[in-house]
């Protein structure tokens, strides 16, 4: 008797969940479609790149409970490599982006292999330290041009067909890259692989005792996350037509944490929403100079103390669905 009721309520939950997710997805796509008409398209594209960056970061913190405080190294390195490939080697944008993604993935694998055996807080310190190393490397290495960065990156013809210097073509291109990344990450989280990641988050010793090599799963998740962060960074280089030290800096690493925290860790839509909010905040508060850092820090503290679920997490909890 109770079993039937429970099954019915579980079915009810799945049904409600599917509906809520469809509404959320449709709203997001509609917003992306409308946004360039109501806001400055360059701003929207920038926000989409950071939204993808935050989704990639969330793959780690939200589903494996690993806090990386150096994720800017993947964004920044991919950005530099993509800019270099497009400008110096004359690659068309899609291949240039692929070069960036590859570089970030390789770096992600290397850093992950070293850091992944360490537990929570250690992991955060190690990723921060490595990111700082990549930052110093970017200051010194000749191809990144130090303080100047790589400027005037050509946007070129995607796959030799679509000219991305056309603002509309570029917008559609960036929107498609974002949606591809977003859906791919959602797929990964819902796949059997993602289920094991979530199991590791809940109880790692148990998963190991069941015969899974948890470290390899975590390393795979870290490498994937680095790759998607790279996709965001490389695309950003094409959009902004430059790659600079800001992209590898600690402040970028902390911004992605803030975006995810504000939107909701471990939710599909939270990081993207958080990215939009943080980027908008930066834009509108730019005139206040360093106050932006103070406000960001205060939002950090407030979220951690009183709002740990984030916006989307809070909404989902109220509507009793998972978004």
């Amino acid at each position: 008797m109770t079993a039937t009721v429970e099954a019915a309520s579980a079915r009810d939950f799945t049904e409600r969940n599917r509906k809520a997710n469809w509404i959320a997805f449709a709203t997001m796509v509609a917003l992306i479609a409308v946004a360039p008409f109501v806001a400055y398209p360059f701003f929207v594209m920038q926000a989409l790149c950071f939204a993808l960056f935050a989704c990639a970061f969330n793959l780690l913190i939200g589903y494996v409970n690993l806090l990386s405080l150096g994720h800017a190294m993947f964004l920044g390195l991919a950005s530099y490599c993509c800019a270099h490939a497009a400008k110096v080697w004359g690659f068309e944008p899609v291949s240039a982006i692929a070069v960036g993604v590859l570089a970030a993935t390789v770096l992600g694998f290397a850093v992950g292999a070293l850091a992944i055996r360490s537990f929570g807080i250690y992991f955060a310190m190690i990723t921060l330290a490595f990111a700082q190393m990549v930052y110093f490397f970017s200051v010194e290495a000749p191809f990144t041009h130090g303080e100047d960065g790589i400027q005037g990156v050509p946007q070129g013809k995607a796959l030799g067909l679509v000219d991305l210097s056309n603002p509309w073509a570029l917008y559609v291109f960036v929107a498609l890259v974002f949606l591809f990344g977003f859906l791919a990450i959602e797929r990964i989280v819902q796949s059997p692989f993602g289920e094991i990641l979530k199991a590791i988050r809940e109880n790692e010793p148990r998963v190991i005792s069941l015969g899974y090599r948890a470290t390899l799963y975590k390393l795979a998740a870290f490498t994937l996350s680095a790759g998607f962060a790279g996709l965001a960074g490389a695309t950003k280089a094409i959009v902004a037509q430059n790659a600079s030290l800001t992209d590898v800096s600690l402040s970028t690493s902390s911004e992605v944490v803030l975006m995810t925290l504000v939107g909701g860790m471990g939710t599909f839509y939270g990081p993207a929403l958080g990215a939009l909010i943080v980027i908008a905040m930066q834009n509108y508060l730019a005139q206040f100079g360093e106050w932006v850092t103070v406000i960001q820090g205060a939002v950090f503290v407030a979220c951690v103390l009183a709002f740990r679920r984030g916006i989307v997490g809070e909404l989902a909890a109220r509507a009793k669905v998972s978004l």
């Binding site: 190690i126 103070v294 960001q296």
Partner: protein
Amino acid sequence: MTLFGHVVSLPALYGQLLIGLINGSFYALLSLGLAVIFGMLQIVNFAHGAFYMMGAFAAYFLLKLTGLNYWFALILAPLIIGAVGAVVERLFLKRLAGFDPLYSLLLTFGLALVFQGLFQNYFGASGMPYAIPKELSGAWNLGFMFLPVYRGWVIVASMAVCFGTWLVIERTKLGAYLRAATENPTMVRAFGVNVPRMVTLTYAFGVALAAFAGVLAAPINQVRPGMGVDILAVVFAVVVIGGMGSILGSILTGFVLGVLEGLTKVFYPEASNTVAFVIMAIVLLVRPSGLFGRAH
């Protein structure tokens, strides 16, 4: 002298070794504070760099606003910034006890942004000069090199404070309370010790160590809002290399890493900024729990 194909002058070598020891003094004080805090609160204090910076600024303001000189600052700045630390622990960190330690970490990270931003807001990126106290100006001729007195003082003061801290923790009743509470805080409370207050004071003490390092640093490097962020990543590398939870280990690693950095500046200057992280990577490969750490 020729090494690795470089022509190295001995004075340059001694000079860089000295700078290495100075930097090592700061690394040791900062990583010691992190280790003390970690032992008791099980959190990594990401605001440590900000407190170091605030210690230097406290010295600057004490001189500028009240005319209190370096020697007062050496005592007062750690007390003031330590009190700020106590307030942070009471107001914020205490509320997060029982939650995932990642939240405390994020909280200290956010606080670091706030402090950092506030100072940057008022002072920009530029530095304020802080004069070497006249008792410590000048230099000694050691025969093979000139040692500026202040630099010698920094090394001695830092070693003395580090060693004193170690002594207190390992050899006194107070240290026994600390070690016991690190192991089993509930049981220590059940003996009638006010452990929550001890936790607050421990955090304040770790913060005060950072502020002390900041005062020592003020006459060497200028007093800058960004000075904490720059050093923090290296200090994390020190902590990872030494292994969390070993007091002596974090002190020793701090000094050794400073010297290694100095040597790198002589033999391969391009890598001097990254050598700490390369060593960290090697240690992580060989001994993931750190040189002095216990396996987790």
